[in-house]
């Protein structure tokens, strides 16, 4: 089977030009794969570079070296590390989703419209997308009175659930999860765990960060230890 995501020789550092050009190496030569239908957890302490990996895979951070090859549903594989912006946006629309820890709020856009947006971008009808958004928000126990409000004033857990619904709605073949259950109660955590299980059964690949060990144990088949890619270990 072809991996859906193949990361190879991936390195990342930050150069802080406003701090006298201090150079901070974060990752060196990270390599791993994620196959269809599996959930891979990135493990390691804070600061090990887990979030940086997710952000590079999403095209949100630039990679210093290495490749991030994503197999697309249509068209050939693409290396996100060198893809031009239009290609990255195209892949985000069709193949690659991301549930971040925090919702970046768009002023004046209601929660259900925010959730429906990725599905509309994939070409679904507006009504169909809104129906599906409502179903997901219902399943995640977001009170119905909030659906028509912009999430700016929601609590952390409520925003998180909007974020999760927005990430899962489009059924992207590869979904990146950055602490998807961090600010959720037990009942909603279980909903997210079953959403991941259903996704895997349908062939979706997940790459995630789960600090909560029981959750990680319930969703992830494998763990990639990010400390193995720490620049000191490589030196």
């Amino acid at each position: 089977m072809q991996p859906r995501l193949a990361v190879s020789g991936l390195s990342k550092s930050f150069t802080m030009h406003l701090r006298g050009g201090i150079h901070i190496p974060v990752l060196s030569e990270a390599s791993f794969e994620v196959y269809p239908g599996e959930c891979v957890a990135l493990g390691g302490p804070s600061g090990a570079g887990k979030s940086s990996i997710l952000k590079m895979v999403y095209g949100n951070y630039a990679a210093d070296a290495g490749s991030i090859v994503i197999a697309r549903k249509e068209g050939g594989p693409v290396d996100i590390a060198i893809a031009d912006p239009r290609m990255v946006l195209s892949i985000r629309r069709s193949d690659l989703g991301y549930v971040s820890q925090f919702l970046r709020v768009v002023p004046r856009v209601a929660a259900r419209d925010l959730v429906a947006e990725p599905l509309v971008e994939r070409g679904a009808g507006r009504e169909e997308a809104l129906d599906k958004a409502d179903a997901l928000l219902h399943r995640l126990n977001l009170p119905e009175r909030l659906w028509h409000l912009p999430p700016a004033t929601f609590s952390g857990g409520e925003q998180q659930r909007v974020n999760i619904a927005r990430g899962f709605i489009a059924g992207h073949p590869l979904l990146l999860l950055d602490e998807p259950t961090a600010s959720l109660d037990a009942a909603n955590r279980d909903v997210v765990i079953s959403l991941i299980a259903e996704g895997k059964a349908a062939g979706t690949s997940f790459l995630g960060i789960f600090h909560d060990a029981p959750t990680r144990g319930r969703v992830a088949e494998r763990e990639v230890d990010v400390t193995a890619f720490s620049p000191k270990a490589a030196a």
Binding site: F14, M16, R86, R93
Partner: protein
Amino acid sequence: MSAPIDPGEAPLLSVERLTRFYGERLGCRDVSFDLYPGEVLAVVGESGSGKTTLLNCLAARMKLSSGAVRYRMRDGEMRDLAALGEAERRFLMRTDWGFVHQNPADGLRMNVSAGANVGERLMAIGERNYGEIRGSAHDWLSRVEVPTDRIDDSPRAFSGGMRQRLQIARNLVTAPRLVFMDEPTGGLDVSVQARLLDLIRALVAELRMAALVVTHDLAVARLLSHRIMVMKEGRVVEEGLTDRVLDDPQRPYTQLLVSSILQV
């Protein structure tokens, strides 16, 4: 936010080493990029960075010192803008392009009614039926959330935010393929800004227009654009996917800009 983008498509606007001097003084230098249908490109930088010079050169409002700007006409042919005749250029501006000024008074006719401001652009492309023109004006006023019972009022009687929305309606009524925007939310209250940004965002996606937005406000760039070009002293210092440039800026000047955003 993203409008459908087809990676295989040909560019709508192709800019090659655009350079403009004012006598000895540099306006902007060696700016090259392609802009595609449905794509929003933000040009950011401080005052004096050359972004407005670039905008005026692109929109054929100013002559280039060197370099070329090519535009894909409706028949599919790429034409060098400098080689267009005056009549052809004016036709482009009236039909295919929009230009949203920072100050609405620069883009509106302040001594005719709101409805006439919108209808005028339609008449310029040959629409003659009064009822249809008024119908379109009515429709566009409601799309930009200007109360339609104000259709016969002068824009002088409008608030700043309402004037800016009217200017947008005037520009978009002809379904342009390319819109230039110069600080479209500058000078407005933040609450009015958010509403306007949301409106622009929705219209650009819905109509699949290409847009070039000049702004010094990185939050505006983040909300509206797919790609960013950062300019300093007349040159492009960094460019790329909007969230990549803002979340992982590489160049010293971009890092300075991003770190200077006030947090609320």
